[in-house]
Symmetry: C2
Subunit: 202 residues, 2 copies
DNA sequence: GCCCGCCTACCGATGGGTCGGTAAGTTCGC
DNA sequence: GCGAACTTACCGACCCATCGGTAGGCGGGC
């Protein structure tokens, strides 16, 4: 599959997809503010103006990149989940450990987004709310209303998200000292095993 | 306008300290790459070249800012610590919740530092190693060799750092939805209460 | 079967701005 | 009159974005 030559009549402009892919990589390497359109273009073999032919502004390119990444992740992680929620988390982390580039894009851009007037700010606020909500549901189903003796599912969800993000940062900075998968696993196991189903539970 | 003129000379180092303080604030707001020397200067009432009179390059300014912040934190947090290690963490978090600017500087710059050729990269690698080591000691002393049933002090230390960082990011993005102090407290309590002193303990 | 008008996909030139950094003063306190 | 603490004046680079092309494909009228 593959051979491209998809001229206009068909859909999927693959030039556009290529730009999105390369832009994600570049934003991961250098952040949004550290990335120029010219660099993205050069890596593809275009001029800066060529990139702007497909995306009206640099901001718009960033937003599209984030949407795409979100959609891909959601697809992979949310599919047929018969398995326990916490097992899915461990698997996601194992997968992430094989692709530091993607982890880095998320880590770099989410932190950069808290700076002034950053175009991705709303995206990340929304994304974290969604993520916490998602984990609340999964945790409640798997561990009940009272987790590890004293946490509500809401609290445990925020902690879980925090652990994943925080460990990813430590791992990016110092991969030899930080065992991403193992540590997430420790936390997950801790949540699970120190859990005593509440009296009010079935 | 010339009438601004606060006296020159005299207490020579005031200006330098002022620059460091304002630079920290500005890096926090906009990141390193998003901050220009001219902006820092303007906030003080100098020209960009006035700032460069005190620091040879923008990189050097960043490094000095980080060193200063580190020293201040170390001083505050490491002093006479008769109290349990985990109590100190809770207090630090309570304190941090009152000054989002400082939290933001750390969050933004640490994540930015994983990007290519970032001048603060070494600083943060080192800082995280030190932080983990510090917590390893504190946790071992307070909770022994086996924490919450199955964690080593090394694992618990990395998780603790991750929780603090991850929660800070969520809190910066969405302060009304994320109770920074309360959530750190939950985690600390969880570590403490689900801990069963190992048989091999003194 | 050919030309016309319209489409996508770019590139070159350029604008208007900002960046970090240098060089050469000027002002002021001692 | 010397040195610290600045300033003005610049420089070269890089930034995003716009404008105005050009090259080529495509459908329709005739």
């Amino acid at each position: 599959m593959g051979d491209v030559d998809n001229r206009r009549g068909g859909r999927a402009h693959n030039r556009r997809d290529q730009i999105l892919r390369v832009a994600l990589e570049t934003f991961a390497e250098r952040g949004y503010r550290g990335t120029s359109l010219a660099l993205v273009a050069e890596r593809i073999g275009l001029t800066q103006q060529g990139v702007l032919h497909y995306f009206p502004t640099k901001q718009a390119l960033l937003v599209e990149v984030l949407k795409l990444r979100d959609a891909e992740d959601y697809q992979r992680f949310d599919g047929g989940s018969d398995e326990p929620h916490l097992d899915g988390i461990r698997q996601l982390m194992e997968f992430n450990a094989t692709r530091p580039g993607v982890v880095q894009s998320f880590t770099v851009l989410s932190a950069e987004s808290v700076t002034e007037a950053h175009p991705a700010r709303d995206f990340f606020v929304q994304r974290y709310r969604t993520a916490r909500g998602h984990h609340v549901d999964g945790l409640r189903e798997e561990l009940g209303e009272r987790i590890a003796g004293r946490l509500s599912p809401e609290q445990a969800a925020a902690l879980l998200v925090a652990v994943m993000d925080g460990l990813q940062l430590q791992w990016l900075l110092d991969p030899e000292q930080v065992d991403l998968t193992g540590l997430v696993d420790s936390f997950v196991t801790m949540l699970r095993d120190s859990n005593v189903p509440a009296a009010a539970d079935a």
